[in-house]
Symmetry: D2
Subunit: 432 residues, 4 copies
Amino acid sequence: MFSSDLYTRKTFLKNMSVGILTATSLPLNAGNDLEDSTEKSSPGDVPEEKLPRSPLNHSTEQEEPAFYPAPRNPAKRVGYAIVGLGHLALTDVMPAFANSKYSKPVALVSGDAHKAKVVAEQYGINPMNIYDYNTFDRIADNKEIEAVYIILPNSMHHEFTIRAAKAGKHVLCEKPMANSAKECEEMIDACKKANRKLMIAYRIQYEPNNALIRDWVQQKKYGNVKLMELFNGQNIGDPSQWRLKKSLAGGGSLPDVGIYCLNTARYLLGEEPDAVSGFIHTTPGDIRFKEVEESVMFQLHFPSGVIANCGTTYGAHMTRRYRLFADAGAWFGMDPAFSYKGIRIELSQSIGKIESKQYPAIEEKDQFALEIDHFSECVRNDKKPFTPGEEGLQDQRIIDAIYQAAKEGKVVSLKKYDGKDVFRGEVPKDDK
Amino acid sequence: MFSSDLYTRKTFLKNMSVGILTATSLPLNAGNDLEDSTEKSSPGDVPEEKLPRSPLNHSTEQEEPAFYPAPRNPAKRVGYAIVGLGHLALTDVMPAFANSKYSKPVALVSGDAHKAKVVAEQYGINPMNIYDYNTFDRIADNKEIEAVYIILPNSMHHEFTIRAAKAGKHVLCEKPMANSAKECEEMIDACKKANRKLMIAYRIQYEPNNALIRDWVQQKKYGNVKLMELFNGQNIGDPSQWRLKKSLAGGGSLPDVGIYCLNTARYLLGEEPDAVSGFIHTTPGDIRFKEVEESVMFQLHFPSGVIANCGTTYGAHMTRRYRLFADAGAWFGMDPAFSYKGIRIELSQSIGKIESKQYPAIEEKDQFALEIDHFSECVRNDKKPFTPGEEGLQDQRIIDAIYQAAKEGKVVSLKKYDGKDVFRGEVPKDDK
Amino acid sequence: MFSSDLYTRKTFLKNMSVGILTATSLPLNAGNDLEDSTEKSSPGDVPEEKLPRSPLNHSTEQEEPAFYPAPRNPAKRVGYAIVGLGHLALTDVMPAFANSKYSKPVALVSGDAHKAKVVAEQYGINPMNIYDYNTFDRIADNKEIEAVYIILPNSMHHEFTIRAAKAGKHVLCEKPMANSAKECEEMIDACKKANRKLMIAYRIQYEPNNALIRDWVQQKKYGNVKLMELFNGQNIGDPSQWRLKKSLAGGGSLPDVGIYCLNTARYLLGEEPDAVSGFIHTTPGDIRFKEVEESVMFQLHFPSGVIANCGTTYGAHMTRRYRLFADAGAWFGMDPAFSYKGIRIELSQSIGKIESKQYPAIEEKDQFALEIDHFSECVRNDKKPFTPGEEGLQDQRIIDAIYQAAKEGKVVSLKKYDGKDVFRGEVPKDDK
Amino acid sequence: MFSSDLYTRKTFLKNMSVGILTATSLPLNAGNDLEDSTEKSSPGDVPEEKLPRSPLNHSTEQEEPAFYPAPRNPAKRVGYAIVGLGHLALTDVMPAFANSKYSKPVALVSGDAHKAKVVAEQYGINPMNIYDYNTFDRIADNKEIEAVYIILPNSMHHEFTIRAAKAGKHVLCEKPMANSAKECEEMIDACKKANRKLMIAYRIQYEPNNALIRDWVQQKKYGNVKLMELFNGQNIGDPSQWRLKKSLAGGGSLPDVGIYCLNTARYLLGEEPDAVSGFIHTTPGDIRFKEVEESVMFQLHFPSGVIANCGTTYGAHMTRRYRLFADAGAWFGMDPAFSYKGIRIELSQSIGKIESKQYPAIEEKDQFALEIDHFSECVRNDKKPFTPGEEGLQDQRIIDAIYQAAKEGKVVSLKKYDGKDVFRGEVPKDDK
């Protein structure tokens, strides 16, 4: 009755399963080593071998990974120059490289020589690989650098992407891509001409919980999505920061944080909006908002009939969430969404007389590491990134239309596109 | 060290309190009756006496009511004729009267004589007090009936409000008030001419958890509310129901369920919107929506600069929620909101390094009973209801503007009003 | 493609359903009355007819009740004398009668004449039907009174149950049943001899969300339940209240609130424990606990091998919850549990790589009304209550064993019983 | 009215604060560099300099760290030999080193040469630094290795701790420390004799959310904690794994996962239990549990009067949680607790008429990295670890007592200790 097989193979009939994911049969490696039954590995000695991992828990439990984590040897990873050592670079991106599997930081570019020296010391980067904005182009001569990750004020993305491409480096560029559609087009052209990859750093499109929701939408798991709400706002501080300078940031909350709403709506649906409208409000007299807008509440209309209510602000307590309203007994989304950590799927579903609020969760991973590793694999294997320059350009066009709609108090139409994911490249694979 | 006083009086220093509500000192009635220490009551024998209730629990615990529930003797309550025995009347309103303190159903008005007879039997209503739509006006002769509660298809509100007023009865009318602003105005006029009260049945404005949020907004507990999101949608069934007939319902999801978004936004802010915009979408070929719209995604702009993203639908899984974004370290709202039961405040607040998601809850009460009792007390004490006819008229004007904005693809302006709560009457008192 | 049938019948393929409850085909009554499509009722004029209710929403949505609420005409209900007008009677039980369908309060018994007079006035009870503890036996002559609901201090349950039985009345008695097993036995005997029903007021056993969990356990929906945790505690106040007098209460937190843990564990499993252990702690010097214990942490061992960790206290912030640990990929329970309102099922389930925390909810009803109505139907239809006197006696025996175990610092064995639900009567039917 | 100062300094009056943490004034570095206002750093060029980080958000928002992450240069970190390449080492510990700031893996010890080679390649470890269990003692000659992290089956902890100490290396050893108190004592002695540090890897004691709860308990923020519930269970799989072999594991669920309950209870209270009791149950015929127990439900009694109900199992769906019941209007705890990721504080508090369920969260960090870095800093600065060998020995004594209590069906007493944290070393500092 109680056989060993029961506990180690996924033959368990999940008759209570809601079937969100199909449980698969895992190959097992039931070692019997006295010392550690998990220490046996499969034969062979291939480079980049993944070690199989037998499940620790019963087949009724959450599915465990089939392999142990398999980072690539540091010497074989794609080397990056980090361009700009501001908040995002130092708080999030530099630490994230530690969690990447195919990427490593090998050079720093900064206008502050002391800061660059300290950071290089902290992360074990060769101090010879420090550049400033004048010496930047010399990266062309540094073989260790295969790619750059541009984390500069928005207005500098254009210049440094083009200079990097000319230096023969692949470019991973932070969002928003630039301050105008024309700049975006020039960046795409420069990378194309130099035959270098260009990817915009849309974290959300590389995160597995968001990908699960995208699957639900596109496979109509809960029927057709009819409407959406998305909001991404925060309460910005220091009035002297570059995000509040029009010439550096290009705009206010919309291109910086509001962009998540429109980019994620497009990603989840795979569709492009054909019309937008919106209101802008900025609190009179608030010294933070002398140059850029505080809040934008906007609407995206999609050809399928889906309408998305979106909102963004620099003037209220941090909120990041989205919800999709589907027609087969469920709504779903994330709250919080968009955050670097702590995102949470929520779902409510009717089941007979029961309304069941649910929080299905896939284990979180370092979002920056996933995004950077996707680009590294595109570089290594010569593939088009999932979020190439064209993806950033389209967001810029929509942002321009929203500003126009709010200014003119009317609906503004956008070019229509047929098909799904018209600007995107290869779907990121889950290599766990 | 341990004194009796410690446990029975609210002298406990709530130094960990977030101070949402101030704990008050309760008069105690510490009986020492051997049989039941709570059975002692205060002296005196006044009519409608409330019996004081000593707290059962320690002063550190959730504050208990100061008095036992004190319903009014049935013979002294305001008697209502229930006009229309449809879903809402039978599922919700008739049972709610059992939880009212000042109100009772004494008559039924229905086009279905058998149904009326069965319902009268169930609720102990005198079968002589059954009317149909032709004999309705004879209620004028029935002294037991002081008020009517109109729960008919929207298009009939106008006629029956006017007939009720002419019959000398006070009118509690379901939302939406009518199908046009002109009808609303005529209803107001008819009740004014007859010197009868008119109240629109906006449940939300009589519910204590919503009132708590309104207090937070208006007292700026978490600073200024900058933006709002509100959504109220459901997936309607039977295509033959009156809600889907233009002539009976006046519109689709917007006047039926979307009205909660705009009415609640106005209630919480106390302000009136000065501009609106919106998109409408109806799924082609869906037989439910031959006459009325499926979904409306709209925006309300308020003079203070607050912008509300609102949405409603008849075509997606039930969702009812709202959230307000404030600028002093918190957002708050309800999810679910608007429901008859199970509403839940949610709040997220920054406290040092901690982000604290919170669900503060006041005990739920029967929302219909609260609403009906407010009207009964207005009738008894000759006061203007908190949500008089003018409140319903204003919603109708906004609904008209949203339809126009969506049709014309542009922002539509509304008349501006100064001051707070310009259409509302006496604030409902919490008499617990 | 879009047929009317789709929206009105439960033919919708719930392929995403977790199948917690089976959706059933509902008979529909698709009226086409211009006035109100729901106002048509089925022909016939039977007494106690239930009016069919067509669903308002789409078949994808939460299942709606098949009938409108159908309370019984007041004149035909079982009339109760409420014995004792303390906290529970006035705060909870009297208001609950308004939500009952088969029951009504017709008489009051109290040692406080003024209080009784006020309450009678409030609830429309004939002032001739007020009794005190001396005149109590005269209820024998009052035909309006068919049953009594005893809500007195624990030590008085024994006497008044026996006097009520002798007066020819059925007895609904609050928990704990009495202060000793011997008293319980005498109460059972007295009612048996008088051929009257006796039921102990275990609310939880009549509440549908708890019943759903019981179904999961007994049908092994998530496999075998292996272990349980149950806790029910509160921070008691006024040291002079009868609950803190040994002679009146019989004990402290254990018989008053801890009883929920053991009674609910027995109810959910359908089994009887065969061994118990426990620790008791009372804070030295706390004037509340001069006579009775503050906290009891105890363990129940069941013949199937299930072990339940239980806890109760009078000295900490209110917590009421339970959780069951099952072996097929899920745990489940309630938090809060045991409360009069606001109970919430929680469930966590493994589904592939996802761990899904879930809150399945059935609409809450008035728990006291459900319990009282069960007894009324037993009285009317001559059936054994689900929680008869024997159920209360068994709890008393377990309480005695826990006290002994804690005192002696060792495991105490209990009599073993075969079969399920050995002390219970007819399973309450869900007549919605 | 709107001054720059308002947005950049913590002068904001948090009058709605619950005061869980005191917001502190942050030194600001308001750069005005055109390129990136955050790129300016303070003068000076000290080694291990921390770069100050100006807050990005408004002073009303969640407090941001005062410094950028400051990992130590890899060349200066404490080098570890990882002893045992099983599940925990490969799934969790090796990846965690990437998130450490003061530690690095420099050598591997395994019985599987191929696996060790693959892992060395993945993590960039010198293949010359691979050892097996026979060659282990040669680590004495390897200067790169300053410490070992022992992640072997429990029965091997004793031998390899002693061999490591003899080889002159500091020892970080996984829990449970060993299979008997005698073994623990010998391990402590061996390290003392060799003048090497010994620390047991109790993750929970280095995690900041758990530390916050410990602060609440010890500072009596919500009054006195009276009672506790703790549970840690999972559903184990493969019957052939070493955890199910008595000789390798020393026991079943109790020493492996149940140990979290007792260790965390001791940590939060700072007290040592003086008595225990418990039941053990193992499902008959389950082939997993031929040698070790399945479930243990036990109770810990503390000198202060606190009683903890604890439970652990290898036979039910994964649950990890704890809750503490305090007497000043709140309970609090974690659910999930004990997990590597996704832990969540929960708190319920009475505030006037409101009961507020709260989820206060401090940003999660890599728990293994925190734990390892604590040990590295103890090694570097010659300090006693917070969880030294004595901490592991005490858990072993309690485990022995629980087994005895369950076997004999009675309460077993433990040695009493005065004072707080009698076995612990230096409190881990939060160096963020």
